[in-house]
């Protein structure tokens, strides 16, 4: 189980502290698929990076299975059982898809076993297993390979930062199937997805809504999803802000 206790995150720009996340507390129990959603700029990706250890909170604590992991490195968190799929997957000159999957599992994997993970994300394994993870792969292909590496790592908590970003509609249909499949086999592990997509929200057990760096809603999908319809869009927020600016003039 992952638990955030009063987590805040600030950045310092031109001598000024700017708050990105304010006093966030929540729990992600095992056996659950949780989706964090909310408008752009609300702090969702920052939250994902805090959980993976890529950045450290300014204040507050992060606990994983009861252990305080706030000051733990990325490596130690990965070893403790946290997996992370990047919103924008990284390219590597020279490293092959097989290398990446092998490193994700941390074992001497056979290429047949590695292929299973590629098939699971809808890629024809034979065509991809020996490809370099470089610019010759399209954004959608990279994204699916990224997800395959997180499947291969089989973490107790798998975090996906906007898995739908940059992939086409056809790939998206498959992506939903991948998460539905993961949801079925979740057992003692848990999944955390950062997403805007209603179809991903639909397969969630719980939904957390972040807006302006604050946790504004957290509860079962059945309770939160109806409230979201039409209320959280970035467009609406812009309109609201513009109206406020207009009011100040």
């Amino acid at each position: 189980m992952l638990e955030l206790q009063h987590v805040s995150f600030e950045v310092n720009e031109e001598g000024q502290d700017i708050g990105i996340l304010h006093d966030i507390s929540f729990k992600i129990p095992d056996g659950h698929l949780t989706v964090i959603t909310g408008p752009n700029g609300g702090g969702k990706s920052t939250m994902a990076k805090l959980i993976a250890g890529i950045i450290k909170p300014t204040s507050g604590k992060i606990l994983f299975n009861g252990q305080d992991i706030t000051d733990m490195s990325i490596t130690d968190r990965a070893r403790a059982g946290i997996g992370f799929a990047f919103q924008q997957p990284v390219r590597f000159k020279g490293l092959q898809v097989f290398d990446l999957i092998r490193l994700a599992t941390g074992t001497k994997l056979s290429s047949v076993d590695a292929c299973k993970y590629l098939s699971a994300v809808g890629l024809c394994a034979r065509d991809y297993i020996n490809r370099e993870v470089n610019a010759s792969l399209s954004g959608g292909e990279l994204k699916r390979i990224e997800i395959a590496t997180v499947l291969a790592k089989a973490s107790q908590l798998s975090v996906f930062d906007e898995p739908e970003a940059g992939i086409d509609l056809w790939s998206f249909q498959n992506l939903i199937k991948v998460f539905e499949g993961m949801r079925k086999e979740i057992k003692d592990s848990s999944i955390l997805i950062i997403s805007h997509q209603e179809r991903i929200l639909n397969i969630a057990d719980e939904i957390i809504v972040l807006s302006d760096g604050k946790l504004v809603e957290h509860g079962p999908k059945e309770e939160i999803l109806p409230k979201l319809a039409g209320t959280m869009s970035a467009v609406k927020r812009c309109e609201k802000e513009r109206a406020l600016e207009g009011g100040e003039e």
Partner: protein, 308 residues
């Protein structure tokens, strides 16, 4: 079996993947002397009359055969220049494995300068593999200065894989090629320098024939206080195409100078160069760390992949 010491055996394995006497034609040189030589029905190896090297003559139509000509040096203080000429007849398809390993535990410099000339006959296909390797903890330097000249006739193809990953203190590598009509040259260079090593790699490729093409790609890593210079000039003298690429990673206080040069002397010459130098991207390290690798392990994997 060859009667060599264990250090020479290890060097042979490093530079030519040889565990025993190779199959086919070979010439093994150790500490300045030929210690084993074998010609086959199609590939004849003869020493030059003045003793400065060997001639390798490959009969026209020779296919699926290989030549191994590794050099090992284990004695400190040897300095030699060897001239090896390869005459490859028409319509051949052969693999040539060269390479030099120096183990220098002594106080004097050891140097091997291998000058290889290739005359590639019409329609022939040649794969050339060259590995350079140094070991030993003596204060004497391990120096390798390979010179390679390639003369390619009509519709011939040559692929060169040149690797120097470890232990060579000083190297100046000069590669020169002249391509005739329809000839194609593909070069993959892999280089890693560490400590206070210096490596200079010069390429001069003249695309003289119509439809000739060249692809010269270098991937290199400079660590510690080492220095590398990559200087590749492609000259298009006909309707041809050429591409040169230097892709380099710098670490610690490593320094790299890339000087890509293109000269088009014909309006139908299409020449491209690319050069990129930088440290390992932070995102790449983070990605592998999210698999549970330490930063150092991640770095190693990225470099191994890059130089693969």
């Amino acid at each position: 079996m060859l009667n060599l010491d264990s250090v020479s055996d290890r060097l042979l394995e490093e530079v030519a993947d040889l565990h025993k006497v190779p199959v086919g034609a070979f010439n093994i040189r150790a500490n300045g002397q030929a210690v084993a030589r074998n010609s086959t029905a199609n590939i004849e190896i003869t020493p030059k009359e003045n003793g400065s090297g060997i001639d390798i003559k490959i009969k026209p139509g020779t296919k699926n055969e290989s030549v191994h000509i590794p050099v090992v040096m284990t004695a400190s203080g040897i300095k030699e220049i060897v001239y090896n000429d390869f005459y490859i007849g028409e319509d051949c398809d052969v693999v040539i494995v060269a390479g030099c390993g120096i183990d220098n535990c002594g106080p004097k410099d050891s140097e091997h300068d291998g000058i290889h000339r290739f005359f590639v006959g019409r329609g022939s296909k040649v794969k050339y593999v060259e590995k350079h390797y140094g070991s030993g903890d003596g204060s004497g330097k391990r120096i390798l200065n390979p010179g390679t000249e390639v003369y390619m006739e009509e519709d011939s193809y040559m692929e060169m894989e040149m690797t120097q990953i470890k232990g060579v203190d000083d190297t100046v590598r000069d590669t020169k090629a002249e391509l005739g009509k329809g000839a194609r040259l593909v070069v993959h260079e892999r280089l890693m320098t560490h400590g206070s090593q210096n490596a200079i790699s010069n390429y001069r490729v003249d695309l003289n024939g119509e439809r000739s093409s060249a692809d010269v790609v270098s991937r290199s890593v400079a660590r510690d206080d080492s220095y590398q210079k990559f200087d590749a000039v492609l000259t298009g003298n006909a309707a041809c195409s050429g591409h040169t690429e230097c892709d380099a990673i710098i670490m610690d206080n490593g320094r790299i100078l890339a000087v890509p040069g293109l000269e088009a002397n014909n309006v139908d010459a299409a020449l491209v160069h690319e050069a990129a130098i930088g440290k390992i991207a932070g995102d790449q390290l983070i990605k592998l760390m999210t698999f549970g690798l330490t930063e150092q392990e991640a770095e190693e994997q990225i470099i191994n992949g890059f130089l693969k």
